[in-house]
């Protein structure tokens, strides 16, 4: 049994079919070929598969592809404007917040949602926004630096 799923990914209308048991993560990676979203724990605990679903960050590994029918989704591939990286992406590079890089796309999606809401996040806002993203390399300090740098740059309009 295959379901027809029509959705918008990074501003583009897409249609494809999926088995009803397919997770949104597998659908994005294996059917639609958006490999930037990472498969890691596959149980909704690590945040590597975070995408933006109708404006909200979710773990795509524990969402049904079927529920994306009619939804608007943003993945990491949708952030850069041509060759110009999104300020959050640029800040992760500039502060050295990327080591193995596997958690990075998920982090960047969580941080983008936060900074779209406010460019003056409190420490508590930041903690809430990324408490569902786990990084095993950095010890988090550089990631916090990146979030603060991105917030400053976005607040300054640069």
């Amino acid at each position: 049994m295959n379901l027809a799923i029509n959705l918008t990914v990074n501003g583009k209308s897409v249609s494809a079919t999926a088995e009803p048991s397919t997770s949104l993560l597998d659908f994005l990676r294996d059917t639609l070929n958006y490999k930037g979203t990472k498969l890691c724990c596959n149980t909704g605990e690590c945040g590597a598969c975070t995408i933006i679903f109708d404006g909200k960050p979710i773990n795509s590994c524990v969402a049904l592809a079927a529920d994306a029918n009619g939804a608007e989704i943003t993945t990491i591939e949708g952030l850069a404007d041509g060759d110009k990286l999104h300020p959050v992406q640029q800040a992760f590079i500039d502060t050295g917040a990327v080591q193995c890089g596997y958690c990075t796309p998920g982090y960047i999606m969580s941080v983008k949602v936060l900074l779209d809401r406010t460019t003056k996040p409190t420490a508590e806002d930041i903690e809430e926004a990324v408490s569902g993203n786990i990084c095993r390399c950095t010890g988090y300090t550089k990631i916090l630096d990146a979030i603060n740098l991105a917030a400053d740059r976005m607040a300054g309009g640069s």
Binding site: L3, N59, V62, L64, S131
Partner: protein
């Protein structure tokens, strides 16, 4: 695997009647998808996400109705719930991660019937009722009788949860939800304790007290003996200690990878004491003497 997206409750109920034990209801999916990946696929998946009207928070006089498809995040961001049902708000605030709260539903947390389900001890002390739909009619079930074992409710394989009705606690009451976990975010409670106290007008004794315990018995439970000991009494430090010990004796925790049964018992005692002290102080402005 068969798959359906019913558009009405009655359509969902006829599918449940047809597929029985082979059917699995899915809402947010944060637990069901994990089971499907690592345990087994059900014979039939019934996705109730597209049934209209089940994602509303509505005030009905002195109680609040919450649709089962309301997400944990919608509860956490509801001003009404934060003001009127702070003990439920607190448990949703401490629930997993932002990503999971955006997807997981309160109905799923209830029907999953995990002994450690984050919202369950608060719903028990709020004396909430679950509206259950069956093919032969509806039924209101108190949360004290809804859970029959780990993962099992009186819905069985034929019923559908259609609303959670929560009466507002008395104006004078105050509450606390305390969760013992290591990491905080994304962590399952080793012990969860919800306490609600209502002092008398003189702030001299307890008119009412309710204590809910999670993760320390096959289902979430009320510590009824501890409550009986406290009800109508002035709240002294000695009585708080005694009630906390009684609450621990009412629990029947297991040992697992998160903690030993013995440790869980100590934590029930500590959190019950802390919950009583904290909510008494919030209600009366006074420390427990």
């Amino acid at each position: 695997m068969d798959y359906f997206e019913p558009k009405t409750v009655s359509e969902a109920l006829s599918l449940l009647a047809k597929y029985g034990d082979k059917a699995k209801v899915i809402a947010g999916g944060t637990d069901v998808l994990v089971d499907m990946k690592y345990k087994e696929e059900p014979g039939c998946l019934i996705n109730i996400k597209r049934i209209p009207g089940m994602d509303k928070i509505q005030e009905n006089g002195a109680s609040l109705g919450i649709g089962p498809l309301v997400t944990i995040r919608a509860i956490e961001t509801s001003k009404l719930i934060r003001e009127r049902l702070p003990v439920l708000w607190e448990s949703c605030h401490q629930f997993a991660s932002l990503q999971i709260r955006n997807t997981a539903t309160i109905g799923g947390n209830i029907c999953r019937a995990s002994p450690s389900g984050e919202t369950l001890a608060p719903l028990l002390v709020l004396e909430a009722k679950a509206k259950l739909a069956f093919s032969d009619g509806e039924k209101l079930e108190g949360f004290n009788s809804l859970f029959v074992g780990p993962g099992r409710t009186t819905l069985g394989s034929t019923g559908l949860l259609t609303e959670i009705q929560i009466p507002y606690a008395p104006q004078a009451s105050r509450s606390a939800y305390l969760k013992h976990a290591v990491r905080g975010a994304m962590d399952i409670a080793m012990v969860g304790v919800a306490v609600l106290v209502t002092p008398d007008a003189m702030h001299s004794k307890l008119n009412d007290v309710r204590i809910g315990l999670a993760a320390v018995a096959p289902t979430p439970i009320r510590a009824q003996k501890a409550e009986a000991l406290l009800r109508g009494q002035p709240l002294t430090a000695a009585l708080v200690n005694e009630a906390a010990a009684v609450a621990a004796s009412e629990s029947s925790p297991i040992s697992d990878q998160r903690s030993s049964a013995e440790y869980r018992g100590w934590i029930v005692e500590a959190l019950t004491r802390q919950g009583l002290e904290q909510s008494w102080k919030a209600a009366t402005g006074k420390e427990v003497a």
